[in-house]
């Protein structure tokens, strides 16, 4: 089976699809950390919230209604969180942040159970992305290719914004040294808010695109949290390139590990993470230095 070229093509596409989903989630988390030094364990809950909003709206507005409005709804929620909790905890140190956002996870899980119930929800793939197309000798689901394409598009867009625009330059300056950036007359507070909200919106988008592939359950945010954290720690906190590298590594190790070394698959990724932390405690491509 492993000598068949089709196998490698299929599994590579599967790995890419997982990587891109994780990228959408981890990029927001990592840039928020790089800029604000804030650890948001509730990032996974924002993803779950996005999936629930998309699932609810797809009933009335169709898939694209959910796809567009879910990130918006999560961004609004993120803005609320920013003013109520995040802002005041920014300087409180990682321990306080871990705990406040750990508490938020508890609240979020029960809130989704109260609003949407305990039963998993499913939403259909939009009709023109349904089905498969032939690609390099294999039949592959169009919707999964759409996820890969979306991830690449967001990556291109973020790269462009960060490297070619004034806002991007400000963010890079802020990640390098936020005090210095403030001295240069950059409104750091406004930038923090902007980045946080955009990060939340991306998590919501990830939830919305994942919803038709996976089932929408109250604990989906908790399930995705650990992979997301692994991605950003392997990649190096705070860096866009790190998020890309971490997502790809996770996606490929997870996918090929699951089919080639099934007995070791779940330990494999943690072993890799431990190895990275021992040899390069700051991750593979950290934002600074």
């Amino acid at each position: 089976m492993t000598t068949d070229l089709g196998f490698w093509v299929l599994q590579t596409l599967n790995a890419l699809q997982l990587s891109m989903l994780l990228f959408l989630l981890s990029v927001g988390l990592t840039v928020i950390f790089g800029l604000m030094h804030f650890v948001n364990l509730a990032h996974g809950s924002l993803y779950a919230f996005g999936a629930y909003v998309a699932a609810t709206l797809s009933g009335t507005l169709g898939y694209w209604g959910g796809f567009l409005l879910a990130p918006l709804a999560v961004a609004v929620l993120g803005a609320g969180l920013y003013f109520s909790l995040i802002q005041s905890q920014r300087r409180a140190g990682p321990m306080a942040q871990v705990l406040v956002t750990f508490g938020l996870i508890f609240v979020a899980v029960d809130a989704t159970r109260l609003v949407w119930g305990d039963l998993p929800i499913g939403i259909a793939i939009p009709s023109f992305l349904d089905g498969q197309i032939a690609l390099l000798g294999v039949e592959y689901p169009i919707y999964r290719l759409f996820i890969i394409a979306l991830g690449l598009a967001i990556l291109a867009l973020l790269t462009l914004v960060l490297t070619r625009t004034q806002v991007g330059a400000m963010i890079r300056a802020g990640v390098d040294n936020d005090r210095m950036a403030a001295c240069l007359g950059i409104n750091v507070e406004r930038m923090f808010f902007l980045v946080f909200v955009v990060g939340c919106a991306l998590a919501g988008l990830a939830g919305a695109v994942a919803a038709p592939v996976l089932s929408v359950t109250p604990d989906m945010g908790l399930q995705i949290l650990i992979p997301t954290l692994i991605v950003i720690v392997i990649g190096g906190l705070g860096s866009l390139r790190g998020a890309v590298a971490g997502s790809l590594i996770f996606g490929f190790v997870q996918t090929f590990g699951a089919v080639l070394l099934p007995t070791l698959s779940s330990v494999l990724i943690y072993a890799l993470l431990a190895a990275v932390l021992v040899t390069r405690p700051e991750g593979l491509l950290p934002a600074k230095g």
Partner: protein, 396 residues
């Protein structure tokens, strides 16, 4: 004067109440039921179905049982240590006469010794691990739900009869997944079929089944046989369809895959999937018609297989009480002797293992007027499970 009057009235009222209490005690036994279910955690919806249907069952059958039933509910959170602590509370502090519930096999494994040691009858209303009515069987544990072996074995022969010769299996890598697939594999190969490949994705850690589906596709099997439940079942069925496998390799499985509880979340991807289970809400018999109507009226939902476990657990308890059982020992002795015709058909308990014996229904998920529904293709006869090392000591 006024106060005196009031005091007298109050005294009269109290006296009457006491008298009534004494009279009811003289007439009816008060049976304390300890209900241990997950009311939170991943199986909360299952717990709710069982709980609602148990209450319905007591209302339906318990009126003339000559007893009142007092239910004490505890949440096991699907965590074995929590389940064990709550079991000890129910047995030692609340001093319940009988326990009902248990969704997770892990929780059942954790509380087995405590229940057995304390001599408290337990009616298992879901957990299907084979050991519970095999090598770890107990005269105090009666199962009215199913066993992993029972639900999957009949499909082996039936599929060979349908012309399916080569099968690829996929199930989560944990005890229940292994038991379900092993039972199917044994029956399928015994009937002349061949299992050409197996995948065991990590349990509760796999959301993307794409990598395994690719292997299934490459295996050249006629069909795929799987076991998944809950959220994993929804993800799996949808992803199976999205890879376009359904057309070339029909999807078969253990009936939990397309349970009525989840099937509408799976949507059109579930159409045409053929599975086997001990209950589907579309079974055509008067007992089921009455059950479905009553459950719908009470909850607004269609009863799932989990609901029927709760309903039949209540029925079994009532039947045991009607046969004269009043306390832990007599209930434990009476429960394995109950037999009745319920929504699932004719049910009895196998005295060798205290596991239920029931027919298994093969059904196809089809589109109906209000979403997806279940079309029963065949009803396979009830067969008692093998004893699996159970040496049942007798009570008393």
């Amino acid at each position: 004067m006024k106060t005196n009057m009031r005091a007298a009235l109050a005294g009269l009222a109290t006296g009457t109440a006491m008298l009534a209490g004494m009279m009811s005690q003289a007439h009816a036994e008060d049976i304390k039921v300890g209900m241990l279910l997950p009311y939170s955690g991943v199986y909360a919806a299952l717990g709710q179905d069982i709980d609602d249907a148990f209450a319905l069952g007591l209302e339906t059958f318990g009126a003339d049982a000559g007893a009142t039933f007092d239910i004490i509910r505890e949440d096991d959170e699907v965590k074995p240590p929590v389940g064990l602590a709550k079991t000890k509370k129910l047995i030692l502090q609340d001093e319940v006469d009988v326990m009902v519930g248990i969704v997770s096999s892990g929780v059942l494994g954790a509380i087995r010794d405590t229940v057995d040691g304390a001599g408290v009858p337990l009616i298992v209303a879901n957990a299907g691990n084979d050991e519970a009515t095999g090598e770890a069987c107990s005269p105090y544990i009666t199962r009215v739900s199913f066993s992993n072996h029972q639900v999957n074995t009949p499909m082996g022969q039936w599929m060979v009869g349908q012309g399916v010769k080569k099968v690829f299996t996929i199930a989560p890598d944990y005890a229940a997944g292994r038991q379900m697939i092993d039972a199917f594999t044994a029956a399928f190969t015994a009937a002349g079929g061949e299992v050409v490949g197996q995948e065991w994705p990590a349990f509760q850690k796999t959301q993307d089944f794409g990598p395994f589906l690719a292997n299934a596709k490459a295996s050249g099997a006629d069909a795929v046989y799987v076991f998944f439940a809950g959220g994993e079942a929804i993800s799996f069925v949808k992803q199976y369809d999205s890879f376009g496998l359904k057309a070339d390799m029909p999807l078969y499985g253990s009936g939990f895959l397309t349970s009525s509880l989840y099937v509408n979340a799976e949507g059109p991807a579930a159409e045409g999937v053929i599975t086997a289970l001990h209950y589907v809400p579309t079974l055509d018999n008067p007992e089921n018609a009455a059950f479905v109507a009553a459950f719908k009226e009470k909850t607004g939902r269609i009863p799932s297989e989990y609901a029927v476990h709760g309903y039949d657990a209540a029925r079994a308890l009532v039947e045991a009480v009607k046969s004269g059982a009043t306390d832990r020992d007599t209930l434990a002795a009476a429960l394995p002797k109950v037999a009745f015709t319920g929504p699932r058909g004719d049910l009895r308990i196998d005295p060798a293992t205290n596991n239920i014996v029931q027919p298994i229904h093969v059904y196809e998920t089809v589109a109906g007027p209000d979403g997806l529904t279940q079309k029963v293709l065949a009803t396979l006869p009830a067969v008692a499970d093998p004893v699996n090392g159970c040496q049942m000591p007798s009570v008393n």
